[in-house]
Amino acid sequence: MKVELYNHVVRSGLTRRRLLQGAASIGSLAAMGGLGVSRAALAQADVRAAILAIPGVGAGSPTDADWQKVGEMTLAATRANVAEGEFAGVELTFMGLNNQNLHNFLFRGFLKPWEAYTGAKINWIDLAQADYNPRLQQAIATGTVDFDIIEMGAPFEGDTASKGLLDEMPDWVKVQIDMDDYVGYLKAPVGTWDGKTYRISIDGDCHSFAYRKDYLTDAAISAATGMTEAPTTWQQVQAFSNAVKGQKDPLTGLDAYGFLDPLKGWGGFGFYFLEDRASAYAKHPDDPAWLFDPDTMKPRVNNPAWVQAIQDVMDTMPVLPPDQINADPGTTAFQQFLAGTGAMICWWGDVGSSARTSDGSVVGDVVGFSINPGSDRVYNARTAAWETPATPNFAPNMAYLGWGVYVTSRVTADEKKRKAAWSAAAHLGGKDIALWMAAYPSGFQPYRNSQFNYDEWEAAGYDRAFIEDYLGSNLDSYNHPNAAIEPRIPGIFQYYSVAEDELAKGFGGTYKSAQETADAIAAAWEKITDQIGRDSQIALYKASLGM
């Protein structure tokens, strides 16, 4: 769970009585609810309830001792597959992040009991977020991969799996971590290359749509916009944004604004926000590809669908807050939307978790969530024609896909070491430990269907309405049949980064039209494709789409 969300729950005044109620109800659930349930399932329910009580929601932030306890209590799956002391003498190196003193810090605690049981030893490489990409890219480019296990985002699979740097997941691991429990979009082809599985997911990511409910109930605004329900298509969003101009914000009394587009780049991550609009137009349900043509790698970013998305942003610019040209996604989320400027935004789960937990947020009681807006018409790149489906086309943007744990091919030749590495990774990606990581500060969001069992959350002491609201929109996006999945090809962030530069010129008026801007992006993407190697990119793009 994100730290802010946890802090909120703690601050929201969970009393000891409430905590005891929660523990008691978990106990009774475990004792009574077992009618007709197998002993193993009962034992697992016991474990899940028990780890959720460490240290107890509202009992302060977990410490290393707590992480070790959780690691010890969830070791059953490892015990089933590994004999005690089986990995004595094995040394592994684990490379990961040290963001907010989470990530690797948790992993250390979780894996200490695993080390004690198996006899293996783990050495750690901790990296700051900003150092991660250069460190990984340089290790790959210079052939100096010096880690056996790596915490890595799915977009980097193109840089690693495609170059044979990862070890294929053994079948016993798939069973141990119960991969069928993954939410829809994290199932294959994500985590796989050429049909081989490499990724143990530990996190999920997607953009969802957050909107202000008070903009829909305010009499003056509703009279101007004619809307009392949240818009569900980009056409409605555009109409709303134009109509709300000139009104006053119901919360702050300042000028009212509609949808907030970030117009400034964000180290490549800003491009995800154009994708939010574009995916509804460009991601056809019959076609897995939407950024490039999978046969030629020719960019689709200048086809009518993407040009429409860029045009939408340009059309909205006059009704955006002043100085929006200098607003990056961080600004639109934390300085604008959460601080009471603007009615709608697409963002990661952070907006949901911060809405009620951040001191800077004033919209906690009036914010609602849904999947990203759809579109009345969708562009079919294969026929080069717009289509108007019976119901709007929705294509939620699975931006970044979340963190996973991977094993590198350094261990492939040594069967003992290989098993040890996968056992360690599987321990971190286990089903029960996942519930704990979602419920306490870990830096990770839910990624399994079993993590959306709201009864467990409620029993542990969480406010049900809040949890359902926050997690529900994510769940709907995760399992959407037409989700726009990020292409996991080498250098994907290079494409995003250069697109941001060209978009900035388009929004700044250097280019005359949306089409000219899109053409400039396409030309820059062609250069990158040629530089990295077109044939290999085509092959890898197809592999990443599971084609």
Partner: protein
């Protein structure tokens, strides 16, 4: 002891026997030959013509160190005391060559390569392609043009710094306090300035400076909205950080000028302005030029504030060469092209600085 030669400076008898000289020559050339051989063997392996089982370039490094030691030792063996004198400089020269010249040569090699870290084929020599790409890259030329504007701003910064230095040099109340207070911005990291000033104080809705601007009648203050205003704001933030640096240098110069000179000028009937323009300013020229040149070097590296506050926007209006190279290199892993841009920038800086120093030298001599 020899009765001939440089008796004033030579203090030890140099009785260089032929075998000693021959040995010196032998180890020098032997080590050089070994270095050439190892380097050649490793190059052949890298190019795939020979398989010798080297895994790293360390053998060449060790051969280089051996050669450096033999070179120094050989100087003493072959040239006696003259050789010992050479030892005062030679190790340092070799060290500089190792840490500056070699990396520069490798840098040049990379600059003329097509090397995208994401490319599975690795580094490929591509001749002048990167140069051609640079020639047609509007982002780079835009950044260079911006650098001209940023550099010209130094003139204004200098004037302000001189004014402040004169004030602090005068007999004013709380002089020590102001000296420390004016130095504070220099002590701040530009990253902190970016966040505290650029992202917080200049925040357009709640930032105190935006509120002040509104109170003064600017309805919708926007500090980074248009190209010109954004560039000016970046200049102001950078100036605020570094004016104290120029000021402190100029102040030190002012304090070194003997008070008698001004007094003599006053006795001769010079007005305060003439006293400044005809006496103080010319005497301050060498310090001023040093301050401006150092400031220029700082300015040419300008990147942190831009990366943090505007990322080069809006539409590239505030991009500096360094911030552009940072994006090309870090965000796009385009190592070959990024290195070439940096090399070209280095050449431009060297040329510009040389011309400036020559001009400054001529100008100070005339005055």
């Amino acid at each position: 002891m020899s009765a001939e030669g440089d008796l004033l400076h030579v203090v030890t008898p140099d009785d260089l026997s032929l075998p000693r000289v021959a040995f010196g020559r032998a180890i020098m050339w032997g080590a050089a030959g070994l270095l050439a051989l190892v380097a050649l063997a490793q190059t052949l392996q890298v190019t795939g013509r020979l398989e010798l089982g080297f895994t790293t370039w360390r053998p060449t490094l060790y051969a280089y160190i051996l050669w450096a030691v033999c070179l120094c030792w050989g100087q003493v063996l072959m040239r006696g005391e003259q050789g010992k004198r050479v030892l005062f400089v030679l190790p340092a020269a070799l060290f500089v060559i190792s840490l500056v010249v070699f990396p520069l040569l490798f840098g040049l090699l990379i600059a003329f390569s097509d090397w995208n870290l994401a490319s599975p084929t690795g580094r490929k020599f591509n001749g002048l392609d990167n140069l051609r790409q640079m020639w047609g890259d509007p982002f780079y030329w835009n950044a260079l043009t911006n650098m001209v504007w940023y550099s010209l701003a130094i003139i204004v910064e200098y004037a302000i710094a001189f004014g402040l230095a004169l004030l602090l040099n005068a007999q004013i109340r709380g002089r020590k306090f102001f000296r420390v207070a004016f130095l504070m911005p220099l002590m701040l990291s530009p990253v902190a300035v970016s966040w505290m000033v650029g992202k917080s104080m200049l925040e357009i809705r709640f930032g105190p400076l935006a509120r002040l601007a509104r109170a003064l009648g600017w309805d919708n203050p926007s500090f980074f909205g248009s190209a010109e205003v954004a560039r000016a704001t970046i200049m102001v933030m950078d100036a605020w950080t570094y004016i104290p640096f120029m000021m402190i240098m100029i102040l030190a110069g002012l304090q070194a000028i003997p008070r008698e000179l001004q007094e003599a000028a006053r006795v001769d009937g010079a007005s305060p302005w003439r006293g400044f323009w005809e006496v103080t300013f010319p005497l301050m020229l060498p310090v001023s030029i040093t301050a401006i040149l150092i400031r220029l070097i700082f300015k040419l590296k300008l990147a942190d504030i831009i990366i943090n506050v505007t990322s080069g926007g809006p539409g590239g209006a505030t991009d500096s060469v360094t911030s552009f190279i940072f994006r090309e290199y870090r965000d796009r892993s385009n190592v070959g092209y990024g290195t070439l841009l940096a090399m070209v920038y280095l050449v431009l800086i060297v040329i510009a600085m040389t011309i400036l120093m020559k001009l400054a030298e001529r100008w100070t001599r005339q005055r």
